[in-house]
Amino acid sequence: MIGQTAIGVLLVVICALLEGVGQVFLKKSVLGAVRWYLWISFGVAILLLETMIYSEALLFLDVGAAYAISSLNLISVTFMSRYLLREKVTRIRWIGVCLIFVGVSLVAARA
């Protein structure tokens, strides 16, 4: 039982990482990249893969728990925006992201 939960958590964490990469690809497509259509295509493909893995994760976890863990998406996206897209993520923005992360986790965990 613990093993199944661990697999579910691992799958949702992988989804959070894929969400970050997929969103970075979509952002790249609108930044004036030369082959913007490739960025969009790969971005959509990664987000579809994420959806499939998330569906698989729901076989191992309750929806509420999966939804709560998937709020890690916010942290993943912000981290990748900072280091892959070189966006200026100030301390204030990090505080905001962390508050939203905790808030969404609380709402989702009780759903």
Binding site: L85, K88, G103, V107
Partner: protein, 136 residues
């Protein structure tokens, strides 16, 4: 901390639309899933999905969300736009309580307050990184 000037109306409209579409998507999707026949046959479920106006509406909303999101991203940082759209958690929560009569408790209300506080903090930052700052 200072409230930004020159906040583009197009971005504000795009973010508002993203939140509205996401809210509608969550509620319609849930209604669509609940309308499926509960006979346990995957093939009949696929057929029901393809013939269900609610599911077709879900796909339409997803397409609208995608194109609107690209427009939002072309006007704002990803690290700004994505957390702001978490406002849809608040709207879905409120509508679920008001219209679907779902139960709530103090922990969830505290969570909603934290989400709102977080969005306020994010709204105090610049919505877009200038290219010269990006190169640092």
């Amino acid at each position: 901390m200072s409230i930004k000037k020159n906040f583009p109306i197009r971005l504000a409209a795009g973010l508002l639309l993203a939140i509205l579409i996401d809210t509608a998507l969550q509620l319609v999707w849930k209604s669509a899933v609940l309308s499926l026949p509960n006979d346990g046959s995957p093939w009949l479920n696929v057929q029901a999905v393809l013939h269900s106006p609610l599911f077709l509406f879900v796909i339409f909303l997803m397409a609208c969300q995608f194109f609107n999101w690209l427009m939002v991203l072309s006007n704002a940082d990803l690290s700004y736009a994505q957390p702001v759209t978490s406002l849809s958690y608040v709207s879905v929560f409120c509508l679920s309580v008001l219209y679907l009569k779902e139960a709530t408790d103090l922990i969830q209300i505290a969570g909603i307050a934290l989400v709102l506080a977080g969005i306020w903090f994010i709204s105090q930052t610049q919505h877009v990184t200038q290219s010269r700052e990006r190169e640092k």
